[in-house]
Amino acid sequence: MIVSIFLLVIGAAIVLCLIRLIKGPTATDRAVALDTVTTVTTALLVILALVFKRYIYLDVALVYAVLMFIGSVAIARFLEKGI
């Protein structure tokens, strides 16, 4: 029960990030919103593993934690004329 409420709160957090992604005046704002979404999503996946009671699902969260920052770094390097 209480876990479901947690999930809904996280859903609300994602909605807020989407609002920033739509509004954001500059590309950097949107990139920050995307970066936040990835962090929130990692937490969501871990909690969902708890809901589904499958230990192996943590691997997916691990992939998120490891890989998601690469997209942000790519966008950031593009914005500072790096690549």
Partner: protein
Amino acid sequence: MRILISCVLLVILSLGLVFALEQAPFGSNQIDNADKPGRFYLNQGMEKTGAANVVTSVVVTYRGFDTLGEVTILFIAAIGLGAVFHSRKKVKRYEKEKQSASLILQTGCRFLFPLIVLFGTYVFIHGHLSPGGGFQGGVIIASAFLLLFLGCEEKKIPMKSMNTVESLAGIIFVGIGLAGLYWGESFLENFLPRGMDYMLLSGGVIPIIYIAIGFKVGAELAGIVAGLIERNP
């Protein structure tokens, strides 16, 4: 006008799809029957192949030919990209206003690169026990190389050894298939003993094929990324 026509087309298509999908008995109905492949894989896949992850056993053995084709498609993309970008006249490298990465990013990339490669290796070695497998592991390794490109430019990928790895992995995949034809009865048959359940050494040829796929996918995607980045307009 163009927008109108495409809207009409798309509305027709979406109505058709929604209508059709409402009609079709999806979900549990169609695999309850025991002679359907899905039910068969679930009931007997674990006993026959010894791989705890049924998706893996489907991908690698039962539908292994699809996987071979799919690896081939990545290979085509990699060499096709090379062929498209091949130009004889040397363009002189232009490096206008190229900012180098900050110290934090460089250090972070150097530190994280081996960790990510290690994690990718974990993912494809454990493909038959947990979610993940050759493609996912390969993509993770390719992402590590991508990070190297983004973070520290001075590190260069040795493309020649990449090509060798790619080629060898492909030959190993085909070779295992032919070995199945030789020792077993059909191409890509699982001819090794299935081993203990839930242990690393289980599932017969599945881990070997997945390791080959992992190396191949990783090398191909890294090659694609390198080709795209190093193209100078």
